[in-house]
Amino acid sequence: MSDHKPGGVADAGGDGELEAVIGLEIHVQLATRTKMFCGCELSFGEPPNTRTCPVCLGLPGSLPVANARAVHLGLMIGLALGSELAPRSIFHRKNYFYPDLPKGYQITQYDEPLCRGGELGDVRIHRVHLEEDAAKLIHAGASGRIHGSDTSFVDFNRGGTPLAEIVTEPDLRAPEQASEWLKLLRTTLRQLGVSDVNMEEGSLRCDANISLRPRGSETLGVKTELKNMNSFRFIERGIRAEIARQEEILAGGGQVVQETLHFDPASGSITSLRSKEEAHDYRYFPEPDLVPVAIDDGMLAAARADMSELPADRAERLQRELGLSVDSAQVLAFRTELGDYFEAAVAARAEPAPPAQGLANWIAGDLVGRLPEGQDPSDSRVEPRALAALVGLVAERRVSVGAARQVLDRLIEGGGSEPLAIIEAEGLGAMDGGSELAEIVAAAVAANTDAAERVREGNAKAIGPIVGQVMRETKGRADGTEVARLIHEQLGA
């Protein structure tokens, strides 16, 4: 793989006359209890083939019946994305043979999907439809060969798991834009509560359609489909590699072939997934075993009632109601766990009450920075109420910022849950501007004659060594502003 810088051709500027056009197809496992068309409970690592029934095994005579909750969750997704919800949608059969497809067809939605249109951020949504997942085919290798062929093992536990497939318009232009947007989608879906959206466990899977075209052109080039990239990093790398591959083909005067590709993150290579003998003709036709899904007012009302606030709405509210800066509001809104922690801290009515912006800064900065990567702060030992109280004390200058950080360290270690108690026990309370601090300042000035001289001459930056000594002496309890004021006062500067 050639080493392209982020953005690939999209960022190539003047000489890069090609631009990438990227659309995503995202499969979201819906958070139901049972499968899409039968009453088997969803499987989370149960022993193979223990979560099956006549329907999801495709036994002769069995019939599918659609899961009402899957439809409900599909409607919530449609509402969240601003899609048009079809009053009547139908299921189709997509016919092909594979050992993980027990009926010889997948039940999916085709030309009459549940939701059409919509947008999220600056990406338009093409459609959202419901379908069933395939089972799991595990290559068992050459160990148990069947008549000279390698053996594979089929586990039908996952077969029939309900999925929503979200298809975007080809509105993305760069690999990292794709992964950023996908993160936004994941946050939105998580907030909705429609899915676990866990890429590692496969409850969020992403395919990308990629083509190149001359910048400024409106027509689309030949696209390839890059399958099943299972992490944000791989999505970015995969798309980047495919853009590079297509660039190379076009640069050499060749033609991109429409095909399905697989990105191998280990080698960085891209390989074609379908061999020629599997030229597909899916022979879609309306699934005669199912009746149309009709959406009535009751179902719509139920979906609306179940919608929690979406990130964009939350960010707007945090700015409007609590006066947070745009950046802070977005960080808290799009990192749901931070937003939830923040709102819990606000709601804790701590004494003294912290300013909202200060609280937001402390959470997104000091607290997150001290926790292991990815840890939800509500899983830490720091109670939202305790952090709120600590920020309140800082605001009232009853503790310095430096000392407050030490208090936060104690809280994280579990060395107490009351900031005020920790401050008192460790003597971290802010020193008032009284004689004790003035004496320490005087000693520091005396010990740093060079610096003192330069401050006197008007070099404000030279104050550093003196402040440093005061802070060491006071173990950070002194308020920095007060220390600076005293130094200047004593030096007459």
Partner: protein, 85 residues
């Protein structure tokens, strides 16, 4: 077509099959004479909608029952020749 249907046909089957199919296709092609413009297609004769299932678990089949019908299986699942890479 036979490959699409995953149906091997013996050499002796091909010719009669082609002949019979074309006779049947000639017959069914008569519907092309009809004027069907603006006629909606019927997928379901009786118009039912909804018929959704509550998201409530029902018992699964015991694995040994499931696997007892398999042409080839081990204790945990079905075995098939691996698809070609």
């Amino acid at each position: 077509m036979a490959a699409l249907a995953r149906l091997a046909l013996g050499e002796e089957e091909v010719e009669p099959m082609a002949r019979e199919l074309s006779a049947v296709l000639d017959h069914v092609a008569r519907i092309s004479e009809l004027d069907l413009e603006n006629v909606p297609p019927t997928s379901h004769v009786v118009e039912v909608t909804g018929a959704l299932r509550a998201d409530e678990p029902t018992p699964c089949l015991p694995r040994e029952v499931v696997l007892s019908q398999a042409p080839l299986a081990n204790d945990e699942g079905f075995l098939v020749p691996s698809p070609q890479a």
